[in-house]
């Protein structure tokens, strides 16, 4: 039964010892430790939050970078396409111009050729006419030495002139 009854001496000492232990630990022990632990926990939480934020920022930056890259590539494609188009245009224009020029030169040449031909023909004709006149002169000079022959010729000629007109009519 004595086990179940508090002993006065032990009670006194227990109260005293526990009070001293409690005062010492509650003043110099646990508050220091728990405060530090709370502080560190806060610090860790903060660090984690910051890390998460940094991670998100990093993600955003990467996204931005990818977007800019894609944009640049698109721009590049567009510029290349435009350049190709411009080149084609220039080549075509140059070709057209060259064709025009060639045509013009050809036309000019043709015109000059025509003119040359004309003048050549005219010269030939006049030459031929002069030659024929000269030949005729010579022939005529020879044949008209007699009046009779002159008269014959005149008549023949007259006949020639009238005959075709008769044929025509």
């Amino acid at each position: 039964m004595s086990l179940l009854l508090p002993d006065s001496g032990l009670l006194f000492w227990m109260v005293l010892i526990f009070a001293i232990v409690f005062v010492i630990l509650a003043k110099f022990g646990f508050p220091v430790i728990t405060r530090m632990m709370d502080k560190r926990k806060e610090y860790i939480d903060n660090s984690l939050r910051l890390a998460k934020e940094a991670d998100a920022k990093m993600g955003r930056i990467l996204e931005e970078q990818a977007r800019i890259m894609a944009q640049a590539r698109e721009e590049q494609n567009r510029i290349l396409k435009e350049a190709a188009q411009a080149r084609d245009n220039i080549v075509r224009k140059a070709q057209e111009q060259a064709q025009d020029e060639a045509k013009k030169i050809l036309d000019e040449a043709k015109v000059r050729l025509e003119a040359e031909k004309e003048s050549a023909l005219r010269e030939i004709r006049s030459q031929v006419a002069m030659l024929s006149v000269r030949v005729a002169e010579k022939v005529v000079r020879q044949n008209l030495e007699s009046d009779k022959a002159q008269m014959d010729l005149v008549y023949r000629m007259l006949d020639e002139v009238t005959a075709p007109s008769k044929d025509k009519n």
């Binding site: 032990l10 227990m14 220091v32």
Partner: protein
């Protein structure tokens, strides 16, 4: 390998048999009073009995401090050995004051003087408390001297920090809720006080081995502190729930009685739980050990085999006690925190208005 294991077995068997033989020789001289061994250990004494070498007792005498009818007396307990009378005081062997210092009054009756002797339990309590204070202050000093944000704790701080964090965050914070910081030092002190006394009690030799948390005086003080914490810091809703519960009128008298009774049974249960658990653990281990000496009388074979069983069972019990030492400290702290938390609870209505 086989040979080695056989050698080990032989050696163990030899030790066990010789132990049994010694036990028998010892037992042959006198019968063992198991009850005296157990109650002598569980109870308190004016000296710290360490061991016996042959017939000689080795014990540390402790100061006896009493205030008797002739004033204060302070002397070493070695003066009271073997029933000696010193300054009119002697250790009683009567049923009523067995093992306590008494004096005789004029009528020749034994009277207990005011006794604040430093008994075995008190000294052990002092040693354990000093150890606890040293440990916690070491831990606190580390935090004072180092920046906890820069480096991880080392030494005692690394050992204690997870435990403190567990009790502080998982038990105290979750059980009490907002405003827990006011109670955290008390509850942490209670936890570590019980834990260190439990653990020191398991160590079978000086300076451990005393049954402190298995002493009802100690658990009474602890439970009384919790009782004060619960009832002195509470709010009016707590008292309203006890003395004016929201029930039909005819139920009120019954419920008030039950509630008032409950106010006292809660710490009472705390006190008895810790006391009974630790005391029972000490008793069981002592019984298991005493079994070796009881069965030693029955011959080498039974004695030897029972010794093996006792040692194995003793190891098992010691491991269990380690677990119980922690669990009981944890349970006491947790229930104290829960009682404090319950006494600070506010009804849901006021919660809503507070939120608004």
């Amino acid at each position: 390998m086989n040979l080695l294991s056989r050698n080990i077995f032989m050696a163990v068997a030899a030790i066990v048999l010789s132990l049994a033989g010694m036990g028998r020789a010892y037992a042959a001289e006198e019968d063992i009073d198991v009850q005296e061994i157990i109650f002598g250990h569980i109870g308190d004494s004016y000296e710290w009995h360490i061991t016996d070498i042959g017939k000689r007792e080795i014990s540390i005498p402790l100061p006896v401090i009493v205030h008797s009818s002739t004033g204060w007396h302070c002397f070493l307990s070695s003066r009271l050995e073997d029933g000696a009378v010193y300054e009119g005081l002697y250790i009683s062997s009567s049923d009523r004051y067995d093992g306590k210092v008494v004096e005789l009054d004029a009528a020749g009756n034994e009277v207990r003087p005011l006794d604040i002797s430093i008994t075995r339990n008190v000294l052990s309590l002092m040693i354990n408390s000093a150890l606890l204070v040293a440990l916690i202050l070491c831990c606190a000093r580390w935090y004072r001297k180092h920046d906890a944000l820069e480096e991880s704790p080392k030494g005692v701080a690394a050992l204690l920090e997870p435990v403190i964090a567990m009790i502080n965050d998982d038990v105290i914070k979750s059980a009490i809720g907002p405003g827990y910081a006011k109670f955290a030092p008390y509850l942490l002190t209670v936890f570590f006080f019980i834990l260190i006394n439990n653990l020191m009690g398991i160590i079978p030799f000086f300076p451990g081995g005393t049954n402190i948390t298995g002493n009802i005086t100690v658990t009474f003080v602890l439970a009384f502190c919790t009782f004060l914490c619960v009832n002195l810091t509470t709010n009016r809703y707590y008292w309203k729930d006890i003395f004016c519960p929201e029930v039909p009128l005819w139920l009120k008298p019954i419920l008030i009685v039950i509630e008032v009774f409950g106010v006292f049974t809660k710490p009472f249960a705390l006190m008895l739980r810790l006391f009974a658990n630790i005391m029972a653990g000490h008793c069981l281990i002592l019984c298991v050990v005493a079994m070796i000496f009881i069965t030693a009388k029955m011959g080498a074979l039974i004695g030897g085999s029972m010794t093996v069983v006792s040692v194995v069972f003793g190891i098992f019990m010691d491991c269990l006690e380690l677990l119980v030492a922690f669990i009981q400290a944890y349970v006491f702290t947790m229930l104290s925190a829960v009682f404090i938390g319950l006494s600070r609870e506010r009804p849901e209505k006021s919660d809503i208005t507070e939120k608004q």
